[in-house]
């Protein structure tokens, strides 16, 4: 029993980590119709910049966790304004390629800046709680809580605020929204920055419990794609639940199947695409 609870918590923590990347990916796809390959790189930048800002602020992890994602949000918004903006009208293949080219640029830039070494950050909240006799680090609970908090804030932003109404309007119909005076390009830049900051938060937050390297973005972006597809491309609720599903599939898969569990997420993605391409919670049929 204790093993199951522990596995559940590990699955949830991993799911929340992926959710922070998949949420931005889904938000950007839902609003602008762009599948952003570079989103994993923003996650990676979050880990590195969080680390650097923490060092600059006298080893204060929490300041790094705050400033890092804000900085990446600004970088993301800048990238959108100067580059991504140009690809909205293009065919999807060019969108994928340009964002992939961005991955090459960002990943290798950070490899040059930080070197190709792996780095580790100390865990900011020490200690743990005994859950059914099993030791679970408090920091896992912190990550899970932040993930849920981000989901809640995002829901409030989209459904309960004026800005959220504008955003939904712009996603629904760009031309009409422009016609009634909504500054759609500025909203898109904002959303891209917000999505970037969320991915960076994920990177900075999980930096203490994993090694950070310039390649960590390419690993998580595919998992985020899987999550976004399982939940339904463009559906935020779907991405949230999809992230939890993939987290649990991962942790319980390793528990029960060990090495053989590696193909499970990809198999799940293929099955969903074949059975219901709109995903578990997506609205539009192909």
């Amino acid at each position: 029993m204790d093993t199951y609870v522990y596995t559940l918590l590990v699955g949830l923590y991993y799911g929340m980590n992926v959710w922070l990347v998949a949420s931005g990916l889904t938000l950007i796809f839902g609003m602008m119709g762009v599948l952003n390959f570079a989103h994993g790189s923003l996650y990676m930048m979050g880990a590195f910049l969080g680390y650097t800002f923490a060092k600059l602020c006298g080893d204060n992890f929490w300041l790094g966790l705050l400033i890092g994602p804000i900085a990446v949000g600004v970088i993301g918004a800048t990238l959108e304004f100067f580059l991504i903006k140009r690809v909205y009208r293009l065919d999807i293949i060019y969108q994928l390629l340009i964002t992939y080219a961005l991955v090459l640029v960002l990943d290798n830039l950070f490899k040059i800046i930080y070197g190709s070494l792996y780095m580790s950050v100390g865990v900011p909240i020490q200690g743990g709680i005994r859950v059914l006799g099993r030791f679970v680090p408090i920091y896992y609970f912190f990550i899970i809580a932040v993930g849920i908090l981000v989901a809640l804030l995002l829901w409030i932003l989209l459904n309960k605020t004026k800005l959220g109404r504008y955003l939904r309007a712009a996603a629904h119909n760009r031309e009409m929204s422009s016609a009634v005076g909504i500054n759609v390009p500025r909203l898109f830049t904002f959303i891209f920055g917000l999505g970037s900051a969320m991915a960076a938060l994920g990177g900075a937050m999980t930096a203490p419990i994993q090694t950070i390297s310039s390649g960590m973005g390419t690993a998580i972006i595919i998992t985020s794609f899987i999550v976004a597809v399982i939940g339904g491309l463009g559906s935020l609720l779907g991405a949230f639940l999809g992230a939890i599903i993939i987290g649990l599939v991962n942790s319980f898969g390793i528990l029960w199947l060990g090495e053989m569990s590696a193909p499970l997420p990809y198999a799940a993605m293929a099955v969903i695409l074949l059975a219901k391409p709109s995903g578990l919670f997506g609205a539009s049929e192909e």
Partner: protein
């Protein structure tokens, strides 16, 4: 996101066939005289370009001619390479047999995977190929007893030709690669010009119209997928014996991005595009690697500039030069 982006790749027919033949002969001639310099380095570069060209061309049968963007094409390249390598290590030293068998295994894998993938189109097709490609990658990565896993499959020989000619010297292997590639490219060219080729282009341009004419569209997409997988596997087999090692990461999604980049750099709209693209790709890489290990940084910037500034690729640009007297 409801608006449907129309697929309008049209392989370019503007260049006169005589000019095109001359261009092809010039390119082939350049490759044929490369060994004159007796440089293993030049031979090696020539082979890398030829293999990449075949890989990208096989990819472009799907993208350029059928309008399907595969994000798992490297998986078939990898399967072909592993299969050919394993055959050479365990079964026979006959290279032709090994790479053709390897390509056949890749083609069969593509037939199986394609059966599922062609059920969807557009972004969903791309995501399915990504999922299956990564599945194949995980199998290569985890099936350590067969593939060696991350330890890689080493010691793949180059084998012999008809049991007589030892192909180990790079200069001899060069001619083998050149001839196999040229033949394969010719076959692909004939396919695109055949009634079958016209039909798949029709599917790309107007799926419904072809369907109403009584054609089983999905079945034709599956045929194309299988053919593309076969030639991709052929390129993989040539690669395996060139490098004498196979890694699991050859199958992963980042490797699948390579033929896409090559094709888009060269131009998706012309048959020659992927060939021109692989020359540019390999040469740019060779040039930049001299200055920085992080050559992909520079390549990424070049790619962004190309994609934003010169969509249509290098070959489109060349074709415009060549056919300035024709209305465009």
């Amino acid at each position: 996101m409801t608006e449907q982006r129309s697929q309008t790749w049209r392989p370019n027919e503007r260049m006169s066939s005589r000019r095109q033949t001359i261009l092809v002969l010039i390119v082939f001639g350049l490759f044929a005289i490369l060994p004159v310099f007796r440089s293993d380095y030049l031979n090696y570069m020539g082979m890398r370009i030829a293999i990449m060209a075949l890989f990208a061309l096989s990819f472009n049968i799907l993208l350029g001619y059928t309008g399907l963007l595969s994000f798992g094409h490297a998986a078939f390249y990898g399967v072909g390479g592993y299969a050919s390598g394993l055959i050479l290590i365990h079964l026979t030293s006959e290279l032709i047999l090994a790479i053709v068998a390897g390509a056949a295994v890749a083609g069969l894998t593509a037939l199986l995977v394609g059966y599922f993938c062609v059920k969807r189109t557009r972004i969903y097709f791309s995501m399915l190929t990504l999922a299956f490609g990564m599945l194949i990658y995980v199998v290569c990565y985890k099936w350590k007893s067969l593939t060696g896993g991350t330890e890689s499959l080493g010691g793949i020989p180059r084998g012999k030709l008809l049991g007589l000619v030892d192909l180990f010297p790079l200069g001899r292997y060069y001619f083998f690669v050149l001839i196999v590639t040229a033949l394969a490219i010719y076959v692909i060219y004939r396919i695109t010009k055949s009634p079958f080729g016209l039909l798949i282009q029709g599917i790309r341009d107007n799926e419904n119209r072809i369907r109403f004419a009584g054609v089983m569209v999905k079945r034709y997409r599956l045929y194309v997928f299988t053919i593309a997988g076969f030639f991709s596997g052929l390129a993989g087999g040539l690669y395996a014996s060139l490098e004498s090692t196979m890694f699991p990461s050859i199958c992963d999604w980042q490797s699948s991005a390579e033929p896409i980049m090559v094709t888009l750099v060269g131009g998706v709209e012309s048959f020659m595009g992927p060939i021109v693209g692989s020359v540019v790709f390999i040469l740019i890489k060779e040039l930049i690697v001299r200055f920085t290990q992080q050559w992909l940084l520079v390549f990424g910037i070049i790619l962004i500039i190309l994609l934003i500034g010169f969509r249509g690729g290098v070959s489109r640009f060349i074709e415009r030069r060549f056919s300035s007297n024709l209305p465009s």
